[in-house]
Symmetry: none
């Protein structure tokens, strides 16, 4: 399939990157059912590391098998599949060339007592495994945030010079942040902006709430009348905070569990102008048929198809 | 001896590994009395580092001599012998080619005040000593867990590119873990899963108890009705947590001391579908004849021989 | 598009390669109109280096522009585009993600007095430019052949560890070889075999003649009654010489200049079981419309389509 | 434009630096409306990192776009543009050669609980992005100050050997420093002096107050009758503290928000003999026209033009 | 001065280069009297290396002083100054920032018995000396040509990753080339094309004669009716051979010695669409006033000024 004008315009925003990195971004943007639209849906499977295998896979035991996720991502027509080293190693040969992969190179686990992650993958790993990108989590606000930023600096420099893309999960936590503050709109926009400043090509954040955590920020949001009432408003603000749309930004599925809730959220995310969704747990914890149906519904929303619902047409029209 | 179909199927699971690493896994799987069965029994002798020489070897003073352990592993028809640098150096020439060795590259000692280990061996050491693999311990949950994971990341990358296999001892401890939690089934399955995610070829964990440590995990185990009543159930769950059986997982001997207890436990481990046992102290602290007899009994269990006992035939049949 | 079974069987032949290299082979085999068929047609544009710009591009001056070739390869639905550093640099960004590229890392020129080539590209170049493979020419028989083989050894080692594929142009010349000997069937099969032995993933040779250059070889060909009467016979022998079909082997267009001659030759190459064609001069020296029509006819032959001609159906049937 | 005698005299002060570093200093000093005067005005945009996107850019939403700042710096005829990695990456190609850039290689954020910064850029980044200098913040007084100084030591060593200049933001904070002490004249002069001692080519500090923080310093200031009554006096003292004027020292805009306040402060800074201003928030938070007008007024002050006001003519005359 | 649209279009041709390299190309293209026109005149002073000091500088003894050449290039408003290591070292500080410099990193001398050059400068040298580019000579056709190409490969890779530009002098000689063949149009176009293929940003060749050296090439030139009658025709053909104008190509002054001859040649070069001239001996061997007048006349030609014709007639008459 030829690279579309829309995708070429997106690639042009990555103006300091070498053609290798742009080609890998193109591979992601030209993959699956959303190929060429400039939108993307990524399947991330790092739940096992974060919460353990039972909490991740017991609801759908087929998901204990690493091949399950590769196959699901391929069959659902997704844009990319992201996972830690072992998961990629366990399927990279069987699925060579089938779907772009993102090597998640650091991870936390729920046994940890601090807000940090272990770096357990390398750029060399990503190259030998044929990955299109490395993925890295930062915890803005955490006591270890600066060390994490320094880790990704070195990894990103090597990745970029090797023609790989860099995806950053920016999850505020730790330090003075309250639980509510972690997903506050001011904090989320800030976290997304910092990922861009650190050189991310694709940013992943959580859908923000209307909460305002920081008092100084609150004054600005109120005095400047920044619209944050609806999720679509907030998404739009995050997109703007990602270099005014010059960087791809995708949103995780949040806490929603039922299908209507998920699709409603995705409609708002789409209406807000986000680049797409990254949706893990809500996917692989469902039976495969349900997961495929749900992903297809999500993809149709990002395709801007009529049947996706009245709500986002309104929102898109109002935009 | 030709590599059996069973072993070739196991090797095929290591799909991203180079033939050098697969050949070293094959050397272990085609060694000794269990050659070709897909099962393995490993002799580890890192007790001296962990608890000091007297506590380790005084019960059977012949074991002060490093050659003793090489010879025992060979005579018992085991699959591999694992030990720290000095122990391997002291016998690697005399036993060159006699048995696959695993260079344990980090160790703790009982004088330590923190939950960490010293990295005292290298991939270059493993190559010059003719080892088939490096071995490494991580302590999931410890304050130093992320640093340990970063150490094995670098070592594993080098080992794999040099055609060596990587064995990970995954022993939860430290941090918020209680003593009971260290061997809880949820924690053990999690620890085994993380070793797989970190890229281990062979995982070693302790036989788990039916205890559930983490409250969130507990909810999942109960709501999903994950069977954990018998040891065999729990082993099966750990095997599943190791990429649904795509990674070899072996179990240590636990706390049991008498022969019946050991064999009973091994029967459960076998019934649960584990890849084998790694059994140190219970071996070399016994007089040589007794040790050889015990190891032969264990091996017979893994060979699935009739005389191994009624219990595991039942369990195997029920599987 | 999902990786086809046919392509997966081909990838399985590259059994010691890491998933990165296989993914890059898959990118080539899943590109363009021949995607998934296991056949490939590559556009190589190193003529400018070998014979100078006027001899290469004057017949079709649009071809002086490097973008012309990228666009032609994309529009014709080819499998890959191969060229030296400067040509790739001049279009790699505009065509990022549009077609797999092969960085030709060495070249000769017609001013040279010896049978050698300059290495003018690197694996780092290939990575930053997003190439799927490096390409390298060896001159079996030349006084410099061993040095050339040593150069590709180092480059191939680095390429393979970085997840790139290696394409080798194996062109016998120099030393005691006569002009006629350069394309003799014994010499061509030998040259193709040596490229395989040197670790090539894809081999490029010229269509061999029925001439037998080496007296000792001649005895074998005659005593063993190796069929070399038709071009299809000879192609079949070369394919066999490439590890009995375990390596992809493509053939250049030879000296033929008129369309009927080219297509007739391609039909024989197809009938002989070759993996495909690599066709440069005959492509870009034609007006673009004619080139596209010719490439389409060639691709139809490799697609095994009925209209491709009676001759190769007969040959394929006889096979 | 030829390098002026004034600029050559300034460059001569950097007598141990190589011509590459001097050429980059010259690029900054020969750029824009102040070219050749020995004065400089720099646009820094690290506010987004320090305070988040909304607090930085909501007052003037066009400023969410990284290109906005490059264009503003060019159109206003400024000397250089300083920003963190992502901001430079997002415009370095579009504005290649348009204005000298300073890669700010470390940053703090307002979610942090400690007085440190993350190093998120490298000298290699600065070279590939065509920057004239790296910028680095130290926090004299902070618990992490020595580590920060050690970081800049390594970066500055590499930058200088690569022909780049080093700009240091020296912002006292943390440790025993009071809020008032952070901008006290003794502390500011001390901070500027330390940046010079650490090898900075250009020092940035805040306009100091007449407060004296340190009791021992206070005795000296009083006994030696160091004039610190007016801002111009204090600026003169800071300039003197920067190797008696052998190092360029620029002042940030402080807290002032209204135009009269800003220009009045700049007049004092100019009168005190400073090398120039570095003015971020006050610039890009204004509508573009107002920002351009303000910057033009500031530049006129540094050009010593008559219309810039009576006050600094008096001060300059008194000097 | 703002980067002009014309220059930005030229920079866009270097699509795989990083912003650092583009900024250095922009520095050259935005320097001196031709700033912004897309044309450039470079002063090269490597004559001393090539022919010795007396043959180079005795006609104008002021030229023994390295500062003389820097000053001449600045005063004449040239685009860049190119010289070997020592010459640059001797003036880089005094002229820091005054003019872009090109470090000529290899040189031959007339005492040599082979057609090769010594590599006597490095990318690190270029960075510490503040150069915008490295310069390198290749001798296509020489017995050592491939080694020279391999040297520039490594140097260019390092230069490009460090944000420097690469200028290649492509001078056919040696091997089977006749003296007349060295400047034959087919050989010159070939040499320019090879420099582009090797990754040069700026190519320097000699003005070609109408001679055709290679018999095969001759057939093409004749059958394709490539116009080569006038120098402008031939220049146009060389420009086309440089990726159809996507690479900057400049021409040396050739053998002409009198002013009318030089200017006449430059007019043809300009008429043929070349990017500019690189003119050494003819410059610095003249008295400074005459050199400045001549360079001004040349620059006026590249500025496309109507009066350029009359002006040099006067100068020539006055001489």
């Amino acid at each position: 399939m030829k690279v579309t004008q829309r995708v070429r315009r997106i690639l042009a925003h990555y103006e300091s990157d070498n053609p290798g990195t742009k080609a890998n971004l193109a591979r992601i943007l030209m993959q699956g059912k959303l190929a060429g639209t400039g939108k993307l849906v990524i399947l991330p499977v790092d739940q096992g590391f974060e919460h353990g295998p039972a909490r991740s896979f017991a609801p759908n035991p087929a998901a204990y098998d690493p091949h399950y996720h590769f196959q699901l991502a391929v069959d659902a027509g997704l844009s990319a599949y992201a996972a830690p080293l072992g998961m990629i190693e366990a399927g990279a040969d069987a699925f060579a060339g089938a779907i772009p992969t993102i090597l998640k190179v650091n991870s936390a686990n729920s046994l940890s007592t601090n807000k940090d992650q272990a770096v357990h993958g390398s750029v060399k790993d990503a190259l030998r495994l044929g990955c299109a990108a490395i993925g890295f989590t930062i915890y803005p606000g955490s006591e270890d945030q600066y060390e994490m930023m320094e880790e990704i600096r070195a990894l990103a420099e090597e990745a970029k010079s090797s023609g790989l893309a860099v995806v950053m999960w920016s999850y505020p936590r730790g330090g003075k942040l309250t639980r509510e503050g972690e997903t506050a709109i001011d904090v989320t926009a800030y976290a997304a902006h910092m990922a861009c400043l650190l050189g991310a090509h694709i940013v992943k954040v959580k859908p923000p709430t209307a909460h305002l955590f920081d008092d100084n920020a609150k004054k600005t949001y109120e005095s400047q009348k920044i619209p944050i009432a609806t999720l679509a408003d907030r998404i739009r603000h995050v997109v703007q905070s990602c270099f005014d749309g010059r960087r791809l930004v995708v949103f995780s599925g949040g806490e929603a569990k039922d299908l209507a809730g998920i699709l409603g959220e995705v409609r708002e995310i789409y209406a807000g102008g986000a680049s797409g969704s990254i949706i893990g747990r809500n996917t692989f914890q469902r039976p495969r048929d349900e997961a495929l149906a749900m992903l297809d519904a999500i993809i149709q929303i990002y395709q801007g198809k009529a049947q996706a619902g009245a709500r986002e047409r309104e929102l898109a029209a109002a935009k």
